[in-house]
Symmetry: none
Subunit: 214 residues, 4 copies
DNA sequence: AATGAATGAGGCTTCATTCAT
DNA sequence: GATGAATGAAGCCTCATTCAT
C-alpha cells in the first residue's frame, strides 16, 4: 500500500548480485517452460517454483504476482527479439531485399525454436491487460518502425503512410505464419514458411518495382 | 450417473421446442459475448448464465460443462463460417480471381464484425483439447480444401502439392490479418486488410502468371 | 406452510384409484431398485422417476421429498417383513424350537433375496433421522416382542427381563448375519448362515435346557 | 498437475514435523468427529476444517479429497483395532477360552467408546469403493485369521474349513453386536453385549466339547 | 393430474498470495 | 533472504424441489 508500485505486473527488481541473479533467471526459465507447456492460465506458481528448484516464497520475492512472472518472461523474450532483429538487419545493411527478408525470417524461425515460451507469450501477451500488452506492443512497434525505415531505404518514393502500413503488414504476416506453422508438422511448417517468403517477395517486388521502373 | 455417457464437450440435447430453443440460443449468445470479453479461462459459467438471464441450473441442463459451452459457440461460428465461405465462392464461381478474393475477404470482415466471439474462438479453439479442436481443424481444413479446388481451377498447371500449400498460406494469411486487424483502430484495420488483399493479389498474380504465360 | 404435515417424510397419500396406485407402486419399485443400487445419498430423484417411467413432477405428487420416498420403500419392506415373520411363526406355532428357528431364518434369507432394497433400507434406515427410523424401530420392536412371546412359551421359567434381552439378541444376530452374508460369495454366505443357526441353536439349548432339566 | 499421481484416496503426505503433525492429527480427529456425527455423505469438508480450527486450504494440503480424509480416519482406526486385537490376544495366550473371549469383547467395547468414528467407519467403509474398502477388508480378514489360528489351538481336531467359518461367524457376531448396541441405552447395551458373550460361549462350548469328550 | 424445464443453494476443490519461522 | 505451511476467495457443477403449461 505504501509501495503501491509493487502492485504492478513487473518484477519487483532485477537483482544484480550473482546469486540472486542466478535464481532470478532460473525462475524466469522455469516460468517460460511452464507457460510454454500449459499456457498462462493453467500454469501454477507452485509448478514454476518447483521447476526452478525454489520455494514459492522466493518466487514472490522477485515477482509480486503471476502476471509479473509472465511479464518477466515476455520482456526477456521481447528484448531478445528486438536485439535479434536489429542485429540481423544491421549486419545486412544494404544487402538486396530478398536476402534481407530471408535472413530475418530465418533468424526468427530459429528464435522460435530456441525460445520455448515464444508461442505462449505471443498468444497471451496481447490478450492480457496491462504491462505485458504494452511491452508486446512496444516490441512489435519497434520492429515495424525499423522495418519501415529499411523499406523506405529500398523504395524512397513510397509515401510514408504507405510505408508504415506495408511494414506493418510484412511484420504481421511473418509473425503470423511463424505462429501458424507451429500447428503443422515439420515438413509442412517448412513449406508454409518458404511459401511465405515467396509471397512476401512477390509483394515486395510489386511495391518496389514501379519505383525502380520510373 | 444418469447422463454418464455425456461427459463429452457437447450439448446434452439441442432443444427443438420454441421456448427452449430460444433459451438455448440465448445461452449460446451470452457465452459468445462473455468468451469474447474475457476469454475462455476467465469466463465464468455464472457470468454466462447471468448474461443469458437464466440460472446456472438451466445452463447446465443444456451444456454439461464449460467446455461444451465453448464448443457450442465455436461450432455455431464454424458452421456459419463454412456456409459463408461456400456461399460467397459459389456465387462468384468463375469470376476473376481478384474479385473473388475481395468478396471473400469482405465477407469475412463482416462476419468478424458480427460475431463477437470470433476472436475468442479462434484464439482458444486450437489451444483447447478435444471436440473444439477437431471442429476448428475441420472447419479450417474445409476452407483450405475448397480454396485449393478453386485455385486449381484458375491455375490448372500447378502441381497439387503446391496448390495445397498455397491454399493453406492464403487462408492462414487472410485469417491472421483478420485477427491482427482487431488490434488496430478502424482506419488502420481497414488499411491493413486492403493491403493484405493487395499482397495476396500480387502473390496470386505471380503464381497464375507463369501458367498463363506459357 | 399451511399444510405443514406435507413436510413430513411420508408419502403425501397412498392412492386408491387403480391407475394412480399402479404409478405409486411403480415409483416405489423404482426407488427400491435405485436405493439398492447406489444407496440413499447417491440416488437421485430424477433417476428414480426415470426408472419408474414417470416425470419428477409426478413423483413429487406422491412423495413430498426424497426421504419420503425412502420411507415409502422402507415401510413397504417393513410391512412385508412383519407379515412374513407373523405368518411363519403362526404356521409353526408349537413346533420344536429348532424347526421354528430354521423356518424363520429360511424365510428371511428368501425375503432378502427377493427385496432388492433390503440391504439399502436396513443400512440407512437407522442412520436417517425421523420417520424412517421410527418405522424401522417399530418393525424391529414388533419382531423382538413376538420373539419374546414365543420364547416365553418355550421357556416359561425365564424371567421376563431376560426373555426380552435374549429375544433382542436373537433378532439382532440373525438380522446382522443376514446382512453380513451379503459381503460373502454365495457358498460362504450359505455357510455363514448355516453356522449362525447352529450357534443360535446351541445358545437356545443352553437357555431352554435348565428349565427342561428341572 | 504437479500432484497428478496423487489422485488416490490417500494423504498427500504424512507430516513428521511436530507442528504439522499436530495439525494433521487435528484434522483427522475433526474428520472422525464429523463423520461420526453425520456420516460420510452428509459430512462437508468445510465442517471438518472448521472443527479442526483450520482453513480448507490446509485440509487439502494434507488430503487430496474427501474420500482420502475418510480413508485416513478409517486406516487409523483399523490400525488401532488390529493392534488392540493382537495385544489382547497375545497377553492372554493360553488363557481359558471364556476369559479370552471376555477380554476381547471388553477391549472392543472400550475401543468403540473411545473412537467416535467407529460406527461411521464400519458402516461406510465397506460400502465405499477403493482404498477404504481394501483397508477395511484387510483389517477384518486379519482379525478373522488370527481368531481362526487361536481357535485351532483350542480345538485341534476341527477341520480347517470349519475353523475358518466359525472364526468368521464369531468376529461378525461380536462386531455386529458392538454395532447394534449403539442403538441401545447404556444399560441395555451392556446387557446385550453380556448376552452376546454368553451366546458365544455356549456356541464355543459345543464346538470345543466333542473334541474334549473324545 | 402430468410434465419437465427452471431454479439456486451448497458442496468440493484449486491456487494465488501471505506470513510466521 | 529463504522457506513452505496456511489462508480463503472463487469457480465449477449437482440435484432436490418448484411451478408454469
Amino acid at each position: 500500500m505504501l509501495f503501491s508500485m509493487e502492485l504492478a505486473d513487473r518484477p519487483r527488481r532485477i537483482p544484480t548480485q550473482a546469486r540472486s541473479r542466478r535464481r532470478y533467471e532460473a525462475i524466469l526459465d522455469a516460468a517460460a517452460a511452464v507457460f510454454a507447456e500449459v499456457g498462462f492460465d493453467a500454469a501454477t506458481t507452485e509448478a514454476i517454483a518447483a521447476r526452478a528448484d525454489t520455494s514459492i516464497g522466493s518466487l514472490y520475492q522477485f515477482f509480486p504476482n503471476k502476471r509479473a512472472l509472465f511479464t518477466g518472461v515476455a520482456e526477456r523474450l521481447m528484448a531478445r527479439e528486438t536485439a535479434l532483429f536489429d542485429a540481423v538487419t544491421a549486419e545486412r545493411a544494404g544487402a538486396p531485399w530478398p536476402e534481407l527478408l530471408d535472413a530475418v525470417v530465418g533468424a526468427f524461425v530459429e528464435l522460435r525454436e530456441t525460445e520455448p515460451a515464444w508461442h505462449a507469450v505471443w498468444s497471451s501477451a496481447l490478450a492480457l491487460e496491462g504491462e505485458v500488452k504494452d511491452t508486446a506492443e512496444r516490441c512489435h512497434q519497434h520492429i515495424v518502425s525499423r522495418t519501415a525505415a529499411i523499406l523506405a531505404g529500398y523504395a524512397p518514393g513510397l509515401p510514408p503512410a504507405r510505408v508504415e502500413i506495408v511494414a506493418a503488414l510484412l511484420v504481421e504476416t511473418v509473425a503470423a505464419m511463424l505462429f501458424a506453422s507451429l500447428r503443422y508438422d515439420a515438413t509442412r511448417a517448412r513449406a508454409l514458411l518458404d511459401e511465405t517468403t515467396r509471397m512476401v517477395r512477390a509483394y515486395a517486388a510489386e511495391i518496389l518495382a514501379p519505383i525502380d521502373a520510373k
